[in-house]
């Protein structure tokens, strides 16, 4: 049995192709059941997001040939050649590694983003509910979730901000911790102001006030972000009570100059204020950052923070890759061990059955035996068989832990006749010989 992963993602395929393979939520169950019913496939899992469409199956190695036609069918008018130019097929160890990398967000467009784990879990729930995920994929996916959790908890892969808006929100939390009880003021109502405000207020804020020269723009943004709007003339009254100020107006001059900021800082009596000037040209006099307890960040500052965050994530990703590699090896060792387990169980059962049968046959010739004599004979039988089985069992375990151990297992099965049609007959033969 093999594990196969077939699909394409943002690295391997252009969006023009990816968008044609996105499967609507409503169609996913039927599509998954159709995939699972293909020849040679025992279990199936289907992940479809805007950045990837991937199929994970367990089954006969030959079932790989049915995966591409399946995706061609899903994609409507996609040509097979075009699909195969952009798709990848991972088998066994490579499939496990790829799955672990995907769930750990190492294969994402923004490394470390948390959404992918949720998407994989949703796909897993669907697989469970449709019955296409059973023992093999269940174990593999559960392991993948555990690896993702380990990566997230023991590396900083998802922590550093990678976008300007995220950097602004993170820095605000470095000043105020939880923004729950704090006042946010948005000066301006443009696109950038909206985006930054959305990020900063995402975790909840005490209050949000929008101040804009155009009353209508202020009102619209305030309603969208569940805040209030205030007339432009009251800007500095509002700023006195603000903790985070996002400034992004179209004004070609400083909206907050040094003098006003000094007055503001005095009025706040040392309470910190975070000014985010994301306007170009800048709306806040850069000298304001020199004032005590006033922290001014402009676009370049935030860009530098975001770039440092990306660099940090890259460093953390190296550590995460090592974890994924190690965990994939552990999983594969375990899976290979499972490969040998049925043979070990069968071999032990076979030899013990033989032993019991031969013992029953020869006991009659010994005449009546006392209880003690019977017990000694039974102990002898078990001890002898265990000694005989010791080395083959070790050999099977060793073979099971090696990727190329399948041949050794097959040889042992043949040597002990485990795949014979009527094992009892062979047993009798060997008994006679003994």
């Amino acid at each position: 049995m093999a594990i196969l992963l077939y699909g394409l993602n943002h690295q391997s395929a252009p969006i023009a192709l990816r968008e044609r393979l996105v499967i609507a939520d409503a169609e996913l169950p039927a599509t998954l059941l159709k995939l699972a019913s293909a020849a040679g496939i025992e279990e199936a899992f289907l992940l479809s997001t805007c950045n990837r469409t991937e199929i994970l199956v367990s089954g006969e190695p030959g079932c790989a040939s049915s995966l591409a036609p399946f995706l061609v069918q899903v994609g409507g008018g996609i040509g097979r050649e075009e699909l195969e130019r952009h798709a990848y097929l991972h088998v066994d160890g490579a499939a496990v590694r790829h799955l672990f990398r995907v769930t750990s967000s190492l294969d994402s467009m923004v490394v470390g983003e948390p959404q992918i784990l949720g998407q994989v879990k949703t796909a897993y729930v669907l697989g469970r509910s449709t019955g296409t995920i059973r023992s093999v994929l269940e174990g593999l996916l559960q392991r993948a979730f555990a690896v993702a959790k380990q990566v997230r908890s023991s590396t900083g892969i998802g922590r550093a901000p990678v976008s300007i808006a995220h950097a602004a929100a993170t820095r605000a939390r470095e000043i105020f911790g939880d923004l729950g009880g704090h006042a946010v003021v948005v000066v301006g109502a443009g696109k950038m102001a909206r985006l930054a405000a959305q990020h900063v207020t995402a975790g909840g804020v005490g209050s949000l006030t929008v101040v804009n020269r155009s009353w209508q723009g202020a009102d619209e943004l305030a309603r969208e972000l569940h805040g209030t709007s205030v007339a432009w003339e009251r800007l500095f009254d509002v700023l006195e009570g603000a903790d985070v100020v996002i400034v992004s107006t179209a004004a070609p001059h400083h909206v907050i100059d040094l003098e006003e900021a000094q007055r503001l800082a005095r009025a706040r009596r040392g309470r910190p204020i975070f000014l985010l000037d994301i306007a170009v040209p800048r709306n806040v006099d850069p000298r304001v950052n020199a004032l005590e307890n006033v922290y001014l960040y402009d676009l370049d500052d935030l860009r530098a923070v975001a770039e440092a965050g990306r660099e940090e994530r890259r460093r953390e990703a190296e550590q995460a890759e090592a974890i994924v590699e190690q965990e994939a090896e552990l999983y594969l060792d375990w899976a290979r061990g499972l490969q040998a387990s049925p043979t070990i169980v069968e071999l032990r059962a076979r030899l013990h059955d033989l032993g019991e049968a031969e013992m029953a046959r020869f006991r009659g010739r010994l005449g009546p035996l006392s209880e003690e004599q019977s017990r000694v004979l039974e102990e002898f039988r078990i001890a002898l068989l265990n000694k005989i089985l010791h080395h083959p069992t070790l050999a099977l375990k060793r073979a099971g832990s090696r990727p190329e151990g399948g041949g050794a297992i097959a040889l042992l099965r043949e040597a002990f006749g485990l795949d014979a049609e009527e094992p009892g007959d062979e047993g009798k033969g060997s008994g006679r010989g003994a």
């Binding site: 908890s153 023991s154 590396t155 900083g156 922590r159 550093a160 901000p161 950097a167 993170t170 820095r171 939390r173 470095e174 000043i175 105020f176 911790g177 009596r269 040392g270 309470r271 910190p272 950052n289 005590e292 307890n293 922290y295 960040y297 500052d301 530098a304 923070v305 440092a308 965050g309 940090e312 460093r315 953390e316 550590q319």
Partner: protein
């Protein structure tokens, strides 16, 4: 050798280990350890130190607060307990990075200073002196938390002003968390120190006939108390805080520590 000395040496080693290990996560990239070791070192140190103090008291047949080294030893113990309390409440193990070296050096100093009794005159009662010393020591321990929080505040302020990348903040609490910890611990410290200074005046009066003798160490203590009182009042009255307040709190602790070390 007295068994208490061995317990104290064990405590010293634990504090030293705690000091070093509290800094380790600062140097590391990546995620903070899920189970930091420094608090456990501090806890072990505090335990060994407690045994040493109990044994010393048992051997001497009195409370081990009769000499400057004994007072400093209890002060180091109180520093550790205060830091562990903060860690227990807020999991801010970064406070240990400041408190543990402090506890280590004060305990080390207590082992090299001459063991002369400073209670030469007639004190009103040993119990009253013990009360005075206890409130002072725990007041200074609370103030050490103010000191640690203020240092952290200044570090975060500096990093924010310099626009350092996020990694610089990994182990640091938010600016506001530092401010809140500093203010709360200062309120406790100021109340205890006020009680300590008042009880000290009573002891002074009984020993010398005057509540205030204008000795250098007394003047240092009252200066620090006035400074801390002014900060508390400014915060209560005007909500004053920020960088300057943090610098003054560091200065206040410095003055108090100098007084405690006998300068």
């Amino acid at each position: 050798m007295d068994a208490a000395v061995w317990w104290l040496r064990g405590a010293l080693v634990s504090y030293a280990a705690g000091s070093l290990l509290a800094f380790v996560p600062w140097r590391r990239g990546g995620a903070p350890p899920s189970r930091p070791i420094a608090p456990w070192c501090a806890g072990l140190g505090a335990l060994l130190h407690s045994v040493a103090l109990l044994q010393t008291g048992w051997t001497l047949g009195r409370c081990p607060l009769g000499t400057l080294p004994e007072v400093l030893s209890v002060l180091a113990w109180a520093f550790t307990l205060a830091a562990l309390w903060v860690w227990w409440r807020s999991r801010l193990d970064v406070v240990l990075a400041i408190e543990q070296p402090l506890a280590f050096f004060v305990l080390l100093l207590s082992q090299v200073l001459p063991r002369e009794s400073f209670l030469a005159g007639a004190a009103p009662s040993p119990a009253f002196v013990r009360f005075h010393l206890t409130v002072i020591l725990f007041g200074v321990a609370a103030l050490s938390i103010t000191f640690a929080a203020s240092i952290l505040y200044l570090a975060v302020d500096r990093a924010l002003k310099a626009k350092r990348p996020i990694a610089a903040f990994r182990r640091l609490p938010s600016l506001e968390a530092c401010d809140l910890l500093a203010y709360r611990s200062l309120a406790v410290a100021f109340a205890l120190l006020t009680l300590g200074i008042l009880s000290g005046a009573v002891i002074n009066d009984a020993m010398t006939g005057a509540p205030w003798t204008w000795r250098r160490e007394e003047t240092l203590a009252i200066l620090a108390w006035i400074l801390l009182g002014a900060i508390v009042l400014a915060r209560l009255g005007w909500g004053w805080r920020g960088r300057r307040a943090s610098i003054l709190m560091v200065l206040g602790f410095g003055l108090i520590l100098l007084r405690m070390l006998g300068f």
